[in-house]
């Protein structure tokens, strides 16, 4: 035993990089299986883009759970609401969106995304106050309340927008692909990938480099201690909940554009995917959520290409495999 002098820096926490390598290894293993280099690149880009979109939607959920032990079964509603709100801007201004100028396209797209985030963020405030706060600390009631919220939100969307599928065409500047030799990369996927990665970096920076991030991380690890130090963790939690809702809304807009259509059922559909990602990543871990999202998307894309029938249950198989390896998800941050 060597003694640690008071002046020494604290020993660095060990970095756990095995999960980080997992998607990389998976991608490399797939090269010989997929066969041609061009389809491999296309598939990899597709999975990264899809993964980033799922990550954007799931990040809020995992933080909310980690920080406050609240699992929002209505998270999918924010995704659907986000997508619908974007159509409010995109459809009336369709002529701008379809104009052949990047500037005009962005002038529609950016306000649409910001409006969606604003509305879903505000909705997050309402949901937190009305549905989550009264049953705080009771898991069973939380699940029931937020599921009820999901039903009401979905039905309200049907009532306001009608039950039909709303088309949501991509703006002109984002259509088409870059072609390098025989490799085809769709522009929108590239954008989704970059935006998702930027958001991941931003969240990581906020969590690791700011006072608020420090408090959030401390709260995830031990809520009572943060409260005992005199911080109002409820307010912090509300902020995280609203940010998470806004991100889910942004994810909904991106998913709607990706599919080029919107329907209230995307809430249900994506809730399942988002839950799987959050479980795989470890409840409360942003890095785990990031890797989990990429893994889920990779399995879906490669699996769909290699064994289409398997793709139906690939997510479940992935979840079982990961939980066999690490029963609490890739990164277990909470002590719960």
């Amino acid at each position: 035993m060597s003694e640690i002098a008071a002046t020494d820096a604290l020993p660095k926490p060990k970095r756990d990089i095995a999960p980080l390598l997992l998607p990389v290894v998976l991608a490399i293993v797939m090269i010989p299986l997929v066969g041609s280099a061009s389809s491999w690149v296309t598939l990899t880009v597709a999975s990264l883009a899809m993964g980033m979109m799922i990550f954007i939607m799931a990040s809020g959920l995992t933080l909310v759970f980690g920080l406050m032990d609240v699992l929002n079964f209505g998270h999918g509603a924010f995704i659907a609401v986000g997508a619908y709100v974007a159509t409010l801007v995109l459809l009336p201004l369709a002529s701008w969106a379809q104009a052949d100028s990047l500037l005009a396209n962005l002038a529609v797209l950016v306000p649409a995304a910001l409006l969606s985030m604003g509305v879903t963020g505000a909705l997050g405030l309402v949901v937190e106050r009305v549905l989550v706060l009264p049953v705080y600390g009771q898991h069973l009631k939380q699940i029931l309340m937020t599921t009820g919220g999901l039903i009401v939100a979905e039905q309200t969307l049907y009532a306001l927008f009608g039950p039909q599928i709303i088309p949501m065409p991509l703006p002109t500047a984002l259509r088409g692909s870059f072609i390098l030799g025989d490799i085809v990369i769709s522009k929108y996927r590239l954008l989704a990938m970059l935006l998702g990665f930027a958001i991941f970096v931003a969240i990581e920076l906020v969590l690791n480099r700011t006072k608020i991030g420090l408090l959030i991380r401390a709260g995830v690890e031990n809520r009572e201690m943060v409260e005992a130090l005199g911080y109002r963790i409820r307010r912090l939690f509300l902020g995280v909940f609203m940010t998470g809702s806004a991100l889910a809304g942004l994810g909904g807009v991106m998913w709607g554009l990706y599919r080029e259509q919107v329907h209230a059922s995307i809430g249900d559909e994506l809730t399942v995917l988002v839950f799987i990602v959050v479980i795989i990543g470890g409840l409360g871990s942003i890095t785990g959520c990031f890797i989990g999202a990429i893994l889920v998307a990779m399995v879906a894309n490669y699996g769909g290409f290699l064994v289409p029938k398997l793709a139906l249950v690939s997510n479940i198989l992935l979840m079982v495999a990961v939980l066999m390896w690490r029963p609490r998800g890739l990164y277990a941050v909470t002590s719960r």
Partner: protein, 356 residues
């Protein structure tokens, strides 16, 4: 008392309500004419049993499962596939039971062992994921399940509407195979509900409640909680599969929309919470209220919606449209979780003694 396993309704209002519902169900074929009334009554029976089995999980063990429709669907599809593939006779029904029940039990066992070790929240998420995968599987394997269209099939001779038992109409009502099927459904569902009542009032049921109240203490007292929870999960799955079989027999059809859809899962949740969790009787009340609302509230909403349109009100016609009835039940659901978590049954039971 014996038949209720020493757990009577314990409230005069509740007893009267239950008696009225049961008498109405018993007499439906001879009081309310028409196919619709009979369909509604059969659906109430089937859902009462299904919801009661879900109550065993939600109300007595406190674990939220989203995979209950999966077991319901396994039952439905077992009947449908067997009768479709092997022809309409009783052997096929026996084959369906012999194949469907063990399959449901095995799946319940696997899910239970895999996810009941951890928190309720994990169980809820994993069941949701598994159930959605199963739904996709059932709608994609069209050579077996008929895909999105599902499977229609013929019933055994005895249960067909064409089979007439009494030559003449009896008090103006036909006595045929359809009526016999209805009473088969009613009897089987009543038997399942009574069996569940027996289960929850047994020492085993008490342990489940102990686990619900405080899992750690139950474990400290020496009960193997994972074993008990998994066992409860299996019982609930078996009953759900039986309810699914009855559903398929009644509809002569099994498809994703009638037996597997996520919306059915939400319906079950609504029924159990509105009726009252952890009471079993709540299942009967909840199913009756919900299905009556589903079938008759819509007509009322249609009238209100047209009235609102005529009055030129904005937004209201959309919100009152008959297809949006689930919106109002969703609001009722949230309100009942919040204001009276014990549901209708709990409300009726907990009234002050003077008012009884």
């Amino acid at each position: 008392m014996m038949i209720l396993s020493g757990d009577p309704p314990r409230s005069r209002a509740l007893s009267i309500l239950l008696v009225v519902i049961i008498l109405a169900l018993l007499a439906t074929p001879f009081i309310f004419p028409g196919a619709k009334a009979l369909n509604v009554a059969a659906k109430i029976c089937i859902f009462a049993a299904l919801v009661a089995s879900y109550d065993l999980l939600l109300g007595y063990t406190g674990s939220v499962s989203f995979a209950h429709t999966m077991f319901y669907g396994i039952g439905s599809y077992a009947i449908a596939i067997a009768l479709y593939g092997l022809g309409p006779n009783w052997t096929s029904v026996a084959v369906a039971v012999a194949a469907g029940l063990p399959l449901a039990l095995l799946l319940a066992l696997a899910i239970g062992l895999f996810s009941l070790r951890v928190e309720a929240i994990f169980f809820a998420m994993i069941t949701l994921a598994v159930a959605s995968a199963f739904l996709v599987l059932a709608s994609q394997l069209s050579w077996l399940t008929g895909g999105e269209d599902g499977r229609s099939f013929q019933l055994p001779e005895l249960l067909r509407p064409g089979t007439v038992f009494v030559g003449k109409e009896w008090f103006g009502f036909p006595v045929n195979g359809r009526i016999l099927t209805y009473y088969l459904v009613l009897t089987a569902c009543a038997a399942m509900i009574l069996a569940l009542l027996r289960v929850v009032n047994s020492p085993f049921g008490r342990v489940l409640q102990a686990i619900r109240e405080n899992r750690f203490r139950a474990e400290a007292l020496g009960y193997r909680t994972v074993f008990h929870l998994t066992y409860a999960n299996c019982i609930a799955a078996a009953v759900a599969a039986c309810a699914g079989m009855l559903n398929a027999l009644w509809l002569r059809y099994a498809g994703p929309d009638t037996s597997l859809a996520f919306s059915i899962m939400l319906d079950i949740l609504l029924m159990v919470v509105i009726g009252g969790m952890g009471t079993i009787y709540g299942a009967i009340i909840g199913a009756a209220i919900f299905i009556l609302a589903q079938n008759y509230l819509q007509a009322l909403m249609g009238i209100a919606s047209t009235a609102a349109t005529d009055a030129g009100l904005p937004l209201l016609p959309g919100l009152l449209h008959p297809d949006r009835w689930l919106l109002w039940l969703g609001l009722l659901f949230i309100a009942s979780v919040y204001f009276f978590p014990t549901g209708v049954v709990g409300r009726l039971r907990n009234r002050p003694p003077a008012a009884r």
